[in-house]
Subunit: 206 residues, 4 copies
Amino acid sequence: MPKQKTAPDSSRRSEAARRAILTAALDLVGELGYAKLSIEGIAAAAGVGKQTIYRWWPSKGALLFDALLTFATDGQDGQSAALPDTGDLAADLKLVLRATVAELNEPRYDQPMRALHTEIVHDPALAADYAERLDGPMREIKKERLRAAQRAGQLAGDVDLDVAVDLLFGPVLNRWLQRTAPLTPEYADQVVDTALRGLRPRDRQG
Amino acid sequence: MPKQKTAPDSSRRSEAARRAILTAALDLVGELGYAKLSIEGIAAAAGVGKQTIYRWWPSKGALLFDALLTFATDGQDGQSAALPDTGDLAADLKLVLRATVAELNEPRYDQPMRALHTEIVHDPALAADYAERLDGPMREIKKERLRAAQRAGQLAGDVDLDVAVDLLFGPVLNRWLQRTAPLTPEYADQVVDTALRGLRPRDRQG
Amino acid sequence: MPKQKTAPDSSRRSEAARRAILTAALDLVGELGYAKLSIEGIAAAAGVGKQTIYRWWPSKGALLFDALLTFATDGQDGQSAALPDTGDLAADLKLVLRATVAELNEPRYDQPMRALHTEIVHDPALAADYAERLDGPMREIKKERLRAAQRAGQLAGDVDLDVAVDLLFGPVLNRWLQRTAPLTPEYADQVVDTALRGLRPRDRQG
Amino acid sequence: MPKQKTAPDSSRRSEAARRAILTAALDLVGELGYAKLSIEGIAAAAGVGKQTIYRWWPSKGALLFDALLTFATDGQDGQSAALPDTGDLAADLKLVLRATVAELNEPRYDQPMRALHTEIVHDPALAADYAERLDGPMREIKKERLRAAQRAGQLAGDVDLDVAVDLLFGPVLNRWLQRTAPLTPEYADQVVDTALRGLRPRDRQG
DNA sequence: TCCTAATCGAGACGGTACGTCTCGTCTTAGT
DNA sequence: ACTAAGACGAGACGTACCGTCTCGATTAGGA
């Protein structure tokens, strides 16, 4: 069987170069914005040859994603992460959604995440990677909290949890991406309240 | 008063060139995808000098937006547009959301809209323009239908209509942009049902 | 008939850029030598975009040749040039060959000419161009002087003038290119004397 | 005395690798031409690590030279080589010069020799090596034949033999390198005849 | 016979330059 | 004044090689 292109041997990979590249990528995207981010610039800032980037990452988006994964998930253990559960679903969700809002408003995260989302929009392969490695685990954590709420009788048992997660987080992410209106903690509260209560009047009998 | 930069005189503008450019832009973005779309290519495809593009549009995103506005809103009258109102809110919303899903899945719209969203993500000026000229009017139409539902007692009176719109359309738009899962008509129905009913159990009295 | 690649329109060509590029090329090849001469470097030194070079010259060799032609032939009229004719063929040839030796030893000409010859060795198209535009005219001038010598009875009438030119100038050029031995004015004299007299003994009858 | 750089120990040298490299170099230069010849390519074609090349040869030119020396001088004994001596100097020289022409026109030799000459033009160290190991011995063989001719009274006694060799072989080598005109056996004959007879008329007595 | 040190293949690394592409500006003719 | 055309300075793209630098894995002699 003839080998296709001799894939790089990751055992020989330089960890120093890898970290320098990821750091430089995050620094530069925060500094210059996504539009002015170039592989050339990242290589120069990291003190690395361009080929070293092209060797290990298939696209600028994949590099950015890797950078985000590496440094954003730096502190936490990975699997041990869970949403708070004080017994009060509405309060817990507001806390989480407000934290999300705060993070999205944080300049340090804003630019890289916009960049990543831009790439995802146009690159199905990267989207799949994102869904598997970032969105998937996060979504599972959220669904876990909602499952607990179902067990506690605070959430309807027949609700599709994926839809529930989308209902809660979709509006916030959307407003952030589209900038249709400022993204405030109050908005997060509103979304939680409205999503939990539903749009239909409660005093009517169905 | 000395003129600053001799602003282009739109009275002399060539309508033929304008339409050729907008058409070429939509064609090319559908053909090549956003990443390979270039001003240079649009000019060549439209049989137009590059300067003619730079003279009339401030950015590639603005051009794309213009193209979308010009051709997407082609058939409809503009103000007369309204959401259907059969008296059955859930059914009407499902109809609209399914139509949205269908449009987003339509290849002819998919690429240009992704491109526009990408630009919006990074260009606040364009985002404002988008909010004012496209999202705003559409949102108003949706809110009008919801207001009617409030009058008919099918929607809680104290619900913020903007949040309601976000709750209904945000998840769909999000799933489209992020490709976390396939975007189906059934999902549209689920979102409507869940948003209307709310996440909380209905059989509890409080 | 579809146009192939839309050849550049030389009427719009920037003369300033052209001269800056040719000057920079000659300067740099003299400064760094041929091996370290790069298009990138020439463009930077000339304050010019790389594309402007690639647009007008098919290869580094063609550019160098152009530079040499432009500046080496700067002073002289072009057609009026002729070799000296004092009536003494040997003296005239020695003068010319000594001048050739001096020029080849001149650092200002040495590097660019070596570079050009290197390119010619590997690029038949450039070789043809060289033969037509530089070697051809020069050879004609030399042959003209030899024709005059034939008329004056100082040169055998049945000698092929091209071979005669090669016999006189070939050894000098060769020694320069191959560095087999130092290239001195005395060597020029020796070549002229030997070529004129021939290798065979003169006092023998056969 | 501390060793400077740990010079390679040639006793441990792999003869298989050496021959594979030299063979690959000659093959590739004939196949791709000199411009596209790369150390990387030679190493790959030879199935050899790049370092093995860099360890044993100081430059691409030295490698090429080595390759030429190894395979071009393969059949012949080395010292026993001598030019033919039938007693007829002109005939002998024509034979040799025609053989030279044939070799230079041989595709198998053309490319590598051009490559070597290119390197020599720019690399004085290689030029010295070439002069000592290839040009020198060959020139000595040629001069030996000319000396015999002098003894036989077929060559003027006061002619500088180096100049004589240059006069005979320079024109041919030059026409080959510069491609000013096709290199034919007839040209070789003409050069020999003209060089032997001289350019001056023979019927004049002085 | 084992030891050990140099050579081997392989290929990652920091770099430089390549030739192409597009950017946004500027210039030239032609309506 | 606008247009089509396209040259220009600028600079990023992704590729190809450069020459240096580890890596194990042979592969010789010298002990």
